[in-house]
């Protein structure tokens, strides 16, 4: 049996059109942040084996459909499957694993101009601007979006798989430095 607080949080997340921060949730349901955390954990656990998932991006929370049913959802919505070029996929991978990242950094890694792929990914709302780097020229930083998580059926960025490479050859997951600073 779920707690009333978890149910209240569920109701609010259900009607929310965008991710809701933990602080906002706590305020709306009249609970402390700590109680809200407990309720969120309870909710996440109870969605096991259902058609819904509790996803979060840092402190922002959102209800999404379970990735297993993406096919049915797509059929209902009449949505296209993701169609991006290998070039866009590479840029997306860099943004996903290295976010927040500037265009110059993406280009330094890919070795080619990425204007077009960044534009395409922005258009499809897979990546978005995330402020600016405090560096000369204050370049725009990019990060992945909620749509990105939904598109790839991820509950959070922690679920991104590690790079499939011979071990020791390349740095691991997000956060590790990669060759080529700002160009």
């Amino acid at each position: 049996m779920r707690s009333e607080l978890a149910n209240a949080v569920e109701s609010v997340l259900f009607v929310a059109e965008k991710p809701v921060s933990r602080a906002e949730l706590a305020r709306v349901v009249g609970a402390t942040p700590k109680q809200t955390d407990t309720a969120l954990a309870e909710l996440a656990a109870s969605y096991q084996g259902t058609g819904l998932r509790l996803a979060h991006d840092g402190d922002d929370w959102q209800l999404v459909t379970a990735p297993e049913h993406a096919q049915h959802v797509a059929t209902y919505l009449g949505a296209d499957r993701l169609r991006v070029s290998p070039a866009s996929l590479e840029t997306l991978a860099i943004v996903a694993y290295r976010q927040p990242v500037t265009r110059a950094e993406v280009e330094a890694i890919r070795g080619v101009n990425c204007d077009q792929t960044i534009y395409t990914l922005m258009q499809r709302r897979l990546i978005e601007e995330r402020g600016r780097r405090e560096a000369p020229g204050r370049p725009i930083l990019y990060g992945t979006t909620w749509e990105f998580l939904e598109c790839f059926g991820l509950s959070s960025l922690d679920e991104l798989p590690r790079a499939l490479t011979p071990e020791g050859l390349v740095p691991g997951g997000a956060g590790a430095p990669v060759g080529g600073g700002p160009a």
């Binding site: 109701s11 259900f14 009607v15 059109e17 993406a70 096919q71 959802v73 797509a74 919505l77 949505a79 296209d80 499957r81 993701l82 169609r83 991006v84 070029s85 290998p86 996929l89 590479e90 997306l92 991978a93 860099i94 996903a96 694993y97 890694i109 890919r110 070795g111 080619v112 499809r124 709302r125 897979l126 909620w146 749509e147 990105f148 939904e150 598109c151 790839f152 059926g153 991820l154 679920e159 991104l160 798989p161 590690r162 790079a163 499939l164 490479t165 050859l169 390349v170 740095p171 990669v178 060759g179 080529g180």
Partner: protein
């Protein structure tokens, strides 16, 4: 608009003659099922007189009911009136049935009002998916792309070695490709790049292909977006 005797009168409408009659019954703690409605005629008329602020067409509905009540009262006093009146207006039992039905409606309206005041309502999702996000992204393809990028990034840059324009010639590449399709009939773009997967090589190869296509030496085919390009020798007409 609000008469002193009509607490239910509202701006957008009023509860009407049946409501007034029902109120009288309840005030006097009478039973709808047994009350002699004619007995309420005087009290009803007194209430209607107090409703003089109502528009004329609304008052007429109250007067119509008042006249029925007066008739019912007259019948009970002078039973000989009965046969004549019965055919023209509704009987006491018909009016009682209407009053009972109205009582049910009012009760239900009160129950609905209580529910509304309690604020216990449902909400649906509004615009949860305003722009359809693309679906079905393959997370392994993403990880593979990442791996490829990392592998490429760890290699020395060709630009650092030599400028592409100096190293490749479009003419030579065109001749090479022409030879390949002459021999094999068809080849994929990926195969053409495999010998030297660098940007300069790809540019020169692509320009060579455009030239061959323009000269009707080859046909180009792509089964779907982002699929490999198939280069085919043009059949002699």
């Amino acid at each position: 608009m609000l008469g002193p005797e009509g607490p239910h009168v509202t701006v957008e409408g009023f509860d009407g003659p049946l409501d007034l009659l029902l109120e009288l019954v309840e005030e006097k703690k009478l039973d709808i099922l047994t009350v002699r409605l004619g007995d309420l005629a005087d009290a009803y008329l007194a209430r209607v007189r107090a409703l003089d602020a109502l528009p004329a067409e609304e008052v007429s509905a109250f007067l119509a009911l008042a006249s029925r009540l007066v008739l019912l009262k007259a019948r009970s006093l002078l039973p000989s009136l009965l046969p004549i009146a019965e055919t023209e207006t509704e009987s006491e039992e018909e009016l009682r049935a209407r009053l009972l039905e109205y009582a049910v409606v009012r009760e239900r309206a009160t129950a609905l009002g209580d529910r509304l005041r309690s604020g216990e309502r449902g909400f649906h999702r509004e615009g949860g998916t305003p722009e359809l996000p693309p679906r079905g992204g393959e997370v392994l393809a993403l990880a593979a792309a990442w791996s490829k990028v990392l592998a490429l990034a760890s290699r020395p840059r060709e630009e650092g070695l030599v400028a592409p324009g100096e190293r490749y010639s479009v003419e030579e590449r065109t001749a090479e490709i022409e030879a390949i399709v002459a021999e094999r009939e068809q080849v994929t773009f990926t195969e053409l790049l495999s010998t030297e997967p660098t940007l300069g090589w790809a540019v020169v190869t692509f320009i060579a292909l455009l030239d061959l296509y323009r000269r009707s030496v080859i046909d180009l085919e792509q089964s779907e977006l982002f699929a490999d390009i198939l280069i085919r020798r043009k059949q002699a007409a």
